[in-house]
Structures are given as C-alpha cells and as structure tokens.
C-alpha cells in the first residue's frame, strides 16, 4: 500500500508530474519498438540515409520477398511455430505433473529430489552445451526438431512455478475428491487442474516465449537454413557481407511484434500467474 498523500490541488499537481514523467520514460523505452516497425517498411539504403526514416515507408513487401529468397522465411516461421507449440505442450505437461507431485504429496526423498531439480536453476546452461551437442551428434539428431525440444522439457523454473501455484490448492478439495472415490490421476485432471487455469496460462506463455526466443541451443544443433528457427535465421542474415537490413528488420518485426500482441492479449493471466509463483511468501 502507499503512503497517505496531501489533499487537493497539490496532490493533483504531483499526480500530473509523476504521470507525465513516467509517460516520457515509457516513450523512450518504446522507441526501439516503434523504430523496428518503421525500419521494416524501408529499404536498406533508406534506413541508413540521413536523416533516418521516422515514418513508415513502402518497402515492406519487397523486404518480405527478399527474406523469402535469402532465408526461406515462410519455412523458418513455420519451424518456429511448430517447435514452440510442441515444446509448450510437452514441457507444460512435464512441469505441471512434477509441480503437482511435489506440491500435494509427501513422499520419501521429496525435498532432495526437488532440490536436485532446482540445481538446474544455478548450474549455468553453458556447462551442458558441449556434452549435449555430442549426445545429439551420437544419436544422429543434429538438425532435427527433437534435438531442439527434448533437452529443455524438464525446465526447472516451470516446475518451480507450478509447485508454487499448486501449493495453494486447498487440501480439503483433494480430500473430498478422494472420498468420492477419485483415482489419483482423475483427481489431478478433474479436481486440481481446473482452478489452476491462470497459472497454466502463465506457464504456457512463459514456455512459448522461452522456446520462440531461444537462441544458443538451436544455433548449435540446427545445421541448414531449412531447419532454422527465427532467431537463428535472423542472426545468420546479419552475418552476411551484403546485409539487407530492411529484410532483417522486417523479419525481426515478425519475430517480435506478434509476441508482444499475444502478451498484451493474455497479460492479465501472465503477470498475475507468474507473480503468484515467483514471490509468494
């Protein structure tokens, strides 16, 4: 809660001052978003002309065509959508099951096993990169989708989030389900999951964003342009000698702006669900 405030005109003045101050800050924060959308509609020459373009231009279609030619962009977009969707469903199931198991049951080794999983939060991802790469090479999985998706399915943060949320389930609810003769799996599906919808939405958004934006692992295991995800394809375009920045910014818009839109549409669930897990006392 906030401190008491002085009444009347002084309060109004301070209110306006604070609001306009934050509005200016937000405008500065938003510049990269605006500029990204503008840049996507200009050619490379226009982007690097002086003064730089500040309003939308007419080059969007050309940029998209160039993206398609240089990076098989529609294929890349499809890869990203497919990989992120499959990942969200599978990782969502793994994390939710585990979170539920750790939150509502007491069993031998519970704390030790949970602690082991949480080790994944502190051990840097880089530690596992090389052996994982070798494992994928030994399995002849380099360049495949399962190589991208499988290693991160048991995401420690997702499990942590779900355990935190599931812990708020009233024990009486589960007990009354058991009284009615519900098996443990049915209890989970029919009794425990429905009230968890906001947390599940938060988890789904989090997982989708994580996979959609993930860079280093797909960069390592994906081999040829046809299997690339969006971030890998965009980064590879930037490395070329004759970098077509109009095309890159158009592709970057497609990678970033729909995510922002999805987030805006679902943010009520996301922020509240994420916070319920992250900072519950």
């Amino acid at each position: 809660m906030t401190p008491a405030v002085p009444p009347g005109a002084r309060r109004r003045a301070r209110s306006l001052l604070l609001t306009s101050g934050l509005a200016i800050t937000l405008a500065v924060v938003a510049i990269p978003f605006y500029w990204l959308a503008v840049g996507a509609t200009h050619s490379s020459e226009e982007i690097f002309s002086s003064p730089p373009p500040l309003l939308p231009g007419g080059h969007l279609a050309d940029n998209l065509k160039s993206l398609e030619e240089s990076a098989q962009f529609s294929r890349v977009l499809l890869n990203s959508l497919l990989i992120s969707t499959v990942y969200t469903v599978c990782a969502g199931a793994v994390c939710t099951l585990a979170g539920y198991g750790f939150a509502v049951y007491r069993f031998r080794g519970r704390e030790a096993l949970f602690g082991l999983l949480m080790l994944g939060l502190v051990v840097p991802a880089q530690v596992t990169l090389v052996p994982l790469f070798q494992m994928m090479a030994d399995l002849s999985w380099l360049g495949t989708y399962q190589a991208v998706v499988l290693p991160n399915l048991a995401l420690p943060f997702g499990i942590f989030l779900m355990r935190q949320s599931m812990a708020s389930l009233p024990p009486s609810l589960l007990d009354s389900g058991r009284m009615d003769g519900c098996g443990e799996l049915r209890l989970f599906l029919r009794v425990a999951l429905p009230p968890m919808r906001p947390s599940l939405a938060a988890l789904a958004i989090f997982l989708f964003l994580y996979q959609w934006n993930d860079f280093i692992w797909p960069l390592i295991v994906l081999r040829d342009g046809a299997s690339f995800t969006l971030p890998v394809a965009l980064a590879s375009l930037q490395g070329l000698d004759e970098t077509d920045y109009g095309a890159i910014l158009a592709g970057t818009s497609i990678a970033a702006l729909p995510m922002a839109a999805v987030f805006l549409a679902l943010q009520r669930h996301f922020v509240s669900g994420l916070l319920a897990g992250a900072v519950k006392e």
């Binding site: 924060v29 099951l97 539920y100 602690g115 939060l121 840097p124």
Partner: protein, 317 residues
C-alpha cells in the same frame, strides 16, 4: 552450489521469499497411505528422467571432458591441464573482467532503476497504472536476437537514429559499437532496456503486500518521503531484491546472446563475456575440453557469488 536452491534440506539459508508453503497436513493414516502409493513418484518421474538424461548426465560428462585435451576429435587425459591453461589465458581474464564490470555497474544501476520504477508504479498518485505496468514489461517479451539487431542498427555510428538525434542537439557522433568503452556502455544500455521493467514488476508485487499500517505509522512519526522509503519500503523489499539480485547475477555471468548479436564480443574484446568465449572455444575451435573447463570455472563462480549474496543481503532474515 545448492545455496540458491529455493527449497531443500541442504539449503538452510534459502530466502523466505522463494520458499513454498509447506504441504497440506493430512491425518496420519491418510499420510501413511499416500506414502505407500506409487502415485507421487509417477507424477514427478517424467521430469526426473528428462532432467537426468539431459541435465545431470551432461553436467557429469562435462566435468570428465574438462580433464581431457580435444585434438582432431580424440580425447587425451591431461588432468587439470585445461584449468592451468585457463589461469594463464589473458582472454579468459579479459572476459572475466568484462563480466565483472557489468556486474558491478549495470546490475546495481538496473536494480536501483527498477526499485524507483516499482515505487512510482505503486503510487496512488499515478494515473493509468495498469497501462504503465504493461508497457514497461513489454521489452522482456522481445527475443534477445531481435532486440540485439534493433539496437545494433539504432546505434550505428554513421547512420543510426541515436547519433542522428544527438547531432540535432549538437552532440556526437558517438562510436557506440566501435569504441571499447562505448561498446560496453551500449551493451549495458541494451541490457537495462530489456530487464528493468521485468524486475520492477516483480518488486511491485512485493510492494503491494507491504502493510499499509507501516506507512501510516511512519506518517504519524513525521517521516518524510525519503525516510519512509529507507525505513519502510526498502526493508519490505529486501527478500525480493535478493531474489532479483541473484537472478541478475546468474544471468550476467551466463551472458551470451546480447554481446554475440550486438558486438560479437568486440571491439578489441571489450564485450567478450565468459559465455561468448566458451562458445568460441567449443563451436568455433571445437576445443571441447577447454570449453568445458571454462564452463566449470563459470559454475564455480556463480556458486561463490550466490553464496556471498545470500550472506550479505540475506543476513537480517
């Protein structure tokens, strides 16, 4: 290493904020029955299997790898050779120094900004709170590669928007990405842009649970805005500040995507991070043994820093 583990018997110093409520207490008979059942193990089994195969096993095999020299696809056991090489490797120390600078400068600045932002967002004086909260969170949704690319164009020395705007007020041009110090500043700016709002939203959630009576009491005692902030707001934020500090430290030590896309580690290795150096050794020079040693050095560093942070920030818990 278990110091930052949110729960578990091995981590008595774990922060209260990250500790989940205890499991519901049920009658002893029911509890015994539940313990005999395989159900709980079946629920956590998929996660444990996947974690074992794709995390625990690589963690172990990475350590074995770090004791070998990789040459032309063959491994030779050399004991601590890679770690000795690490200590004499000027590039590793450069990467370490760059990471330390980001830790010492960017993380505190960002957390201070996030705290200020959270207090502002929590103020009853603010109009349109939810719009602001959303707006400041939005950069977090943008992928690292996407915003790296946008910043690299915005900060282009000759044609970027930033220098054009500076020229309007008679300043610049600033060599954002081509001068070592400025490249570090640009990297810090990009990181701050990306993560400040996220941290502010987490801090805000905590602020909203600070009891109003504390503020009322402070007002009765005649404490001004700054004193109230120091003696009521800041102590209330402490556990969550610890959480955000630890998460930011881990994130900074692992930093890879931003420098890789924004500067490629240059110029003159000014933005070479441990993450980028590890990547170069593993996937550019294919020196897997040495890269694994770097990874382990990194893991030890994260463990030590995590412990120190819990000691320093968590002592009053």
């Amino acid at each position: 290493m278990t110091a930052a583990t949110p729960a578990g018997p091995a981590a008595p110093a774990a922060p209260r904020a990250a500790r989940p409520p205890a499991a519901p207490v049920r009658p002893a008979a029911a509890r015994r029955r539940a313990r005999r059942r395989p159900a709980p193990y079946l629920f956590v089994l998929p996660a444990l299997l996947l974690f074992g195969a794709f995390k625990l096993y690589p963690i172990g095999s990475s350590f074995v790898l770090s004791l070998h020299r990789t040459e032309g696809g063959t491994q030779t056991f050399i004991g601590a050779g890679n770690y000795e090489r690490l200590l004499d490797d000027p590039l590793f120390w450069t990467a370490l120094k760059n990471t330390a600078v980001i830790l010492a400068v960017q993380v505190p600045v960002m957390l201070a900004l996030a705290t200020g932002l959270a207090v502002a967002l929590n103020s009853r004086l603010l109009y349109g709170r939810s719009v602001f909260r959303l707006g400041f969170f939005l950069p977090m949704v943008t992928g690292l590669v996407a915003y790296g690319i946008v910043f690299s164009v915005l900060l282009n020395k000759d044609y970027g928007l930033a220098n054009w705007l500076l020229a309007r007020v008679g300043a610049g041009p600033v060599p954002w990405l081509t001068h070592p110090l400025w490249a570090q500043i640009s990297l810090g700016l990009a990181l701050t842009w990306h993560y400040t709002g996220y941290n502010a939203v987490i801090l805000l959630a905590r602020l909203q649970s600070v009891p109003a009576e504390l503020y009322d009491a402070a007002a009765v005692d005649g404490a001004g805005g700054w004193r109230t902030f120091l003696h009521v707001t800041l102590p209330g934020l402490r556990p969550v500040l610890l959480l955000t500090a630890v998460l930011s430290t881990i994130g900074t030590l692992q930093l890879f995507d931003e420098p890789y896309v924004l500067t490629g580690g240059g110029p003159d290795n000014a933005t070479l991070t441990i993450g980028v150096y590890l990547y170069q050794n593993a996937f550019k020079y294919f020196d897997f043994g040495y890269a694994s040693a770097i990874a382990y050095a990194l893991a030890v560093l994260i463990g030590i820093l995590g412990l120190i942070q819990f000691r320093v920030l968590g002592e009053k818990e």
